[in-house]
Amino acid sequence: MSFLQLKQITHYYFNRSSYTKALDNISISVDEGSFISLLGPSGCGKTTLLSIMAGIIHPTFGSVLINDKPLEKNQREIGYMLQQDYLFPWKNIIDNVLIGPKIVGNKQKEMTEKAKQLLVDMGLETVIKSYPNNLSGGMRQRVALARTLITNPSLLLLDEPFSALDFQTKLKLEDFVSALLKRYNKTSILVTHDIGEAIAMSDQIYLMRANPGEIHQLFEVPIEVRDLSPFEARKHIKYQHLFDRIWEELNSLETKSTIG
């Protein structure tokens, strides 16, 4: 039984003067504990698809099922991390992390301890009382992750979490997040336009094409690569093979779309 199922999702954006068909007939099923990547060029509907999974956008057609039950609006199974960190600049770090429990109305005291523990786990114990503006991009991203994890979601949706970071920080954070999610045994969906990141982090890769957004092809990441940390995975020969295959596929998509 699949943990998360998308059934024939189609989504339109309507404006006053025009409309965009952002997603066309997308069906995906995700097993519990697995790590999925959605890979595709910018504008192919990745963020839209993730917002639909998070229940923030209602698709024009189609349905989202979690454990065979329709996604409620207040489904607490899901943690959604946006494309930028969107930390609240007027709240300090610990209060930013505690915003989820506050919204849900959880016991503040217990949660404060948990938040502190999470921040310590992420190597952020020195900035608990700082404000987001005083943190580096990598630190902010870790805070955003802590904010997402504190409500203990079983499904994590990550929208290009590493795209705004410099390369070195990005590689470190990939390893960190990968290990953390394995430890907590989360089902995760990562959106990215970075082929290497998709291969290094995930078990399966859905390659999307644009206009309208569709699933083009599903790639399985070889077992040998899956079991390595992202940094080590990048050195594996099978990583390179898969990279080349996806690269060619992306190129063929591009030529098709320019011809068509």
Binding site: A54, I56, G79, F88, W90, I99, G100, I103
Partner: protein, 269 residues
Amino acid sequence: MKQNQQSDKQLFDRHVKKIKADKRHTRYMQLLLFLSFFILWELSSQFHWIDPLIFSSPSRIVSLLYENILNGNLWYHMRVTVLETIAGFFIGTIGGIIIAFLLWNSRKLYDVLDPYLVVLNALPKVALGPIIIVALGPGYFSIIMMGAIISIIVTSLVVYSAFREVDKNYITVLQSFGATKWQCFKEAVFPASLPSIISTFKVNVGLSWVGVIVGEFLVAAKGLGYLIVYGFQVFNFTLVLYSLLVIAFIAAIMYQGVNKFEAWLIRKI
């Protein structure tokens, strides 16, 4: 190397000293302007270069001030006007924020009210004075309403547009935790708009003064605005100018107070 550092420091010290001297010079100039204005006024009045009956003189105003401080008249009238202004300021500002919230809460309400708000905003509010007085009776309440109505519409429009400009993604973050609309407002929209809200405070203090003084012109039997009208009617321009100076003084203090409050709030955020 060491020598170089020392001369760097000396350069900086010289720079600081120069800035300080410049500041002191500006203060002297301001004081000079102040003194020469009042001395010139006093002399012109004494030597009848200007009509002392109309333009009075600083010495007469000061002696009236002294007299009124002693007999409690100053405090009596000042208190009335200041309380009316503060009440008008709070009602106008808080009312404007509440209206802005209602508009933000319902897009439909905004669409329906939009043309009316535009017209009301363009209307010179003091022109409503007589209607307010007829409707609410000639008393404090009307005057406070004058102080409030003058700022409430513009506040609601400014604050509403600040609410609308808040990055939607902050709301998305909260929605991903299942936040209600009110929670989104409280946790994201309101705090993100605070700088704009605070900037309306300063404008509204000035507006409330206008509303209250005009209100007092129209109905009051006490207050600084009343003193101005009364002085005008009995041709006592010393009284008019005295009231004017008191108003200028208190308004400046209030404005500074709001300034300080703003700085304090921004530091707190």
